[in-house]
Amino acid sequence: MNSENQNELPEFSKSDALTLGIELELQIIGGQDYNLIGAAPDLLREMANRKHPGDVKPEMTDSMIELSTDICVDYNDALRQLLSIRNQLVNQADRLGILLSGGGTHPFQHWSNQAIFDAPRFHLLSQLYGYLAKQFTIFGQHVHIGCPCPDRALWLLHAFNRYIPHLIALSAASPFVQGIDTGFQSARLNSVFAFPLSGRAPFVLSWDDFNAYYRKMIATGVVKSMKDFYWDIRPKPEFGTIELRVMDTPRTVERAAQIAAYAQALARYLLEERPIEPREDDYLVYTFNRFQACRFGYDGTLVVPGTAEQRNIGDDIIRTMAAIDVHAYDLGSTEALNRLRTDVLQSRNGASQLRACFAKEKSLEEVVRQSSELWAGRPESQ
């Protein structure tokens, strides 16, 4: 396990500003009963030696798999890569008679049935966290945004905190957990809260200070490496990026690329226009805002940090989109933003679609089946 220990924080690699990287954790579903199935080893074996951009990796349990893109310059690049990996994965899944699906949770799986993927790190986590590790059978989207310098990265990380509810509301796709409607739009994030080192990063704005914090945490013995922090946004020094981690895996790769494009345009807006200066006090309303977004999505209430102003999250997204439009244009993601805007105006996200599907079909198995067809790019009715 020594390879997992990092007593020193690695150097912050240089990466081109505003480059993108997307990771998606996927559900692997059995074609017989539409429950999660531990077919990751089969899928990885059949994917080996096949040419595609990015990477496909095992995840915590045997019924999850993670796909990631290479470094993408813009929305179109990201979408192209995601589609290519998606198609390869779906082809192999078809051969194996299994299904793949997006969404933050599997609607009716029982976590006690999950087997931990056979790798040392996952077994160690399983020992440490017990049932939490298995309950961690949840599926998220991570977006990396490239930063040329670590101090800028930390600044951007904290500037982003105000927009976390946007990302949650746009991606939310986990209303059902273990067979029941939780009432939440993103119930997945509730599982993340259970971990001791989840939440927000400490408010430090220079890499030296962050390094000092990291050393102190290592000295306490509580953490062994950056991987032990389950923060909503964390710096990823190896890549030279900040990693946004609050999103549910959307139901389509298109949506995943659009959300990444929104984050990218937002980052450019924040870095170039510096409309806000992050402060520790911004975090006073952070968990409230985050909860509102998880629970109510676009209809949630957001308290603008530093003021007492309350806004509807959906309205705030639309207003933000207006502010960042020009940046989205420069980055070539106008189309992505337009699609997202339409969805916000129509109150549509993964969670609302899943609920509508269940209301119509009255069977969670059928919901899962339609989700996997949608993920494969073969939508039927939606």
Binding site: G30, G31, Q32, D33, Y34, N35, I37, G38, A39, D42, R45, E46, Q92, D94, R95, L96, G97, N113, A115, E361, K362, S363, E365, E366, V368, R369, E380
Partner: protein, 404 residues
């Protein structure tokens, strides 16, 4: 009866008590169920491994008049059990998968043809007449659907080995039943020299079989639009539908095997909506399944195991090896590892008891066959009835797909 002392009073029974055979059968069921629990707890094997053994022992103690006397209603019960199992098996065949993975279809054809060829050659070598050898080979293609469905369901196995096992079993059962009936057609010509009869017979069986299957599938599918079929009470309606279908099947003199498999397949593939086999339906069938395996065991006699002896083992070994080779040949292109291919190939070895029952029907229709077909085949069947479930259970265990 004459030796029984008169009861003391008119309302008291005579002594010794006269026990009706159903009581003995019930006793056997209880013994089998208990043995099943014991096997599961201490040997970690599926319950059904115990049922045929108990059946065999009961028959050894009580003699097979148990079954003979109640042939009629037992047969009915067995048909229902078999029908439910085959319905379930059929509903697990995803035709879309076969379209996406042609190699799987090739695997299926490969293992079935290999088994047919091998059994035919070995039977000929053993001096069995060509017609009987062909019949035996046709039967040898099928993997026991009852064993496979029960073991897979009971061990709650999920994965490439178990899913493919179900699909390959459904397919080779279809091939087997169709071939058997085509052979019957051929025998018709041979025995009665009537061409029209020979051709129309199998056509009728297949066509009408598909039609009856479709009928059941359509009614279940309609029903499910306004009933939650996973509900315990809804499963009673389902069971009733299956009983009605069996009645229809018998009236039309069709093979239950084929009709119920077709029904399952049509149900699963007829519409795109997710179909999950109702679990309560399975538990209703559960009791009948105990009976099914028990009766299979009752039909096994110790001398069956011995008379066939080495020849039966040769037949079993050759057939199993053929199936294994057929699977391994296409394992990698079909998308499974060598290890999975090995386990899948071995797990296909249980021979089909129910098809054997069909064969014994044949024996009644064509007494000429009885003498040549039976001894070695019955011996091979008996050995596989006892060993089959254990083999499948071990394969699933080694595949790591068991989730009990």
């Amino acid at each position: 009866m004459q030796t029984i002392s008169e009861p003391i009073a008119f309302f008291l029974p005579g002594w010794p008590l006269v026990l009706s055979p159903p009581l003995w059968i019930a006793l056997a069921v209880v013994a089998a169920a208990l043995a099943g629990e014991w096997v599961r707890r201490y040997l970690r094997l599926p319950r059904i491994t115990a049922y045929p053994v108990v059946g065999m022992l009961v028959a050894a103690v009580a003699g097979d008049r148990l079954v003979a006397e109640h042939d009629q209603w037992l047969r009915w019960g067995l048909n229902v059990a078999l029908a439910i199992l085959l319905f379930e098996l059929g509903s697990r065949v995803d035709l879309r998968w076969l379209r996406h993975n042609r190699w799987l279809l090739l695997t299926s054809l490969g293992e079935s043809l290999a088994a047919f060829g091998t059994v035919f050659v070995i039977s000929r070598y053993l001096g069995i007449a060509p017609e009987a050898a062909a019949m035996l080979a046709a039967i040898g293609m099928a993997t026991s659907p009852a064993v496979i469905v029960r073991v897979v369901t009971e061990s709650n196995a999920q994965g490439q080995v178990s899913t493919r096992l179900l699909v390959l079993t459904a397919l080779n059962t279809i091939y087997s039943v169709v071939t058997v009936h085509l052979l019957i057609g051929a025998l018709h010509q041979r025995y009665s020299g009537d061409w029209v009869l020979a051709i129309s017979h199998p056509l009728y069986l297949l066509g009408a079989g598909l039609l009856v299957g479709k009928l059941l599938a359509v009614s279940v599918s309609r029903l499910r639009h306004w009933l939650v079929l996973r509900d315990e009470y809804a499963s009673i309606i389902l069971l009733g539908l299956v009983l009605m279908t069996i009645g229809l099947i018998e009236a039309l003199r069709l093979p239950v095997t084929l009709c119920m498999l077709f029904a399952g397949i049509v149900l699963r593939n007829g519409e795109r909506r997710a179909w999950v086999f109702p679990e309560h339906f399975g538990s209703v069938g559960g009791v009948l399944v105990v009976l099914l395996f028990l009766v299979v065991g009752i039909q096994i006699k110790l001398e069956h195991l011995l008379t066939g002896g080495a020849l039966a083992l040769l037949l079993i070994g050759g057939r199993s090896l053929a199936k294994l080779c057929g699977v391994l040949l296409f394992a990698r292109p079909a998308g499974i590892s060598w290890r999975q291919g090995l386990l899948l190939g071995v797990a296909l070895s249980p021979a089909a008891g129910p098809v054997m029952v069909a064969a014994s029907d044949l024996g009644q229709i064509y007494p000429q066959l009885q003498g040549t077909l039976m001894p070695v085949a019955m011996s091979a069947a008996a050995i596989m009835e006892l060993a089959g479930p254990v083999i499948v259970a071990l394969c699933l265990k080694l595949s790591g797909e068991r989730r009990e």
